[in-house]
Subunit: 149 residues, 2 copies
Amino acid sequence: MEPVPMLLAMTYRALGDQFHDRLGQIGLEPLRPAHGYVFRFLKEKRATTVDIGQHLGVTKQAAAKIVTELDDWGYVLREPHPTDKRAQYVTLTTKGRDYLKFADNLWADLESEMAEAIGADTLATIKSGLAAYLRHVHGEDQPGLRPVW
Amino acid sequence: MEPVPMLLAMTYRALGDQFHDRLGQIGLEPLRPAHGYVFRFLKEKRATTVDIGQHLGVTKQAAAKIVTELDDWGYVLREPHPTDKRAQYVTLTTKGRDYLKFADNLWADLESEMAEAIGADTLATIKSGLAAYLRHVHGEDQPGLRPVW
DNA sequence: AAGGTTAGACAACTTGGTTGACTACTTTGG
DNA sequence: CCAAAGTAGTCAACCAAGTTGTCTAACCTT
């Protein structure tokens, strides 16, 4: 049997490719995974560029590039930080929230197709098993998501 | 709960980081994942640079760079193809096979630690579940491994 | 008020890939 | 059997997405 990491990488890849393909078919600009993770992060909390870098596990400079792109494309905007004149909050625009909603539906589709293919109970075991392992390794403060290869 | 792809990426990452750290502690040069996948591939079959590129899911030029590195470091050597004068077989040296053996043990350690953390049965379900999904998506001819982020 | 820290911007560089072009050899089809 | 098309490998130019390093302005001690 394949070693675990290989299985993880290939499955991630298979899911990601399908996601990407379907977005493309709809004609939606296929942002990179990092962009999606930023959306997901911004939905939860107000965040600065530095926060985003932390969350993604990249330098603030790299995060700044991503934020600039998203800003140029109209998915986010920067608004002044209420108390800190150096900082800016990055917030989702309506376009950004719509994209996220659409993407979430797509992910849900893929996940339920996966459940259908291998069994909902198996999928549930996979999810809780991986989550348990991550807690085991990292405790409560998970690190950034960071590139993988 | 986190979406599946996130869990996959984070777990892959967590395992890979531990692997990398432990290799570093031993003082062994920590090759990149791609190198490891090449070793694993060469153990199975005789392969040319083009084959390797195919397997990794990168261009032959990118594969050639990797092979050149491995050659320079003494992990593989190129020998003339018996029937095709253009081609060369890339084969593991003893150093390469030793590295692979060592890495395999390390992976096995990590996997059994994972089994201990989440239960051997859960791990087994994860592995077979993911494998089943990959068969479902790709049929028998799996694509390359390819970068992920 | 002084000294250390932090958010963000700018620039130079690195890494790991890409595309394109070319040579030498191989395979195929009339 | 040979001409045309295809393939292995190499070289070179380029690109994307990160990195490090430096700087300014603002912030936080004390």
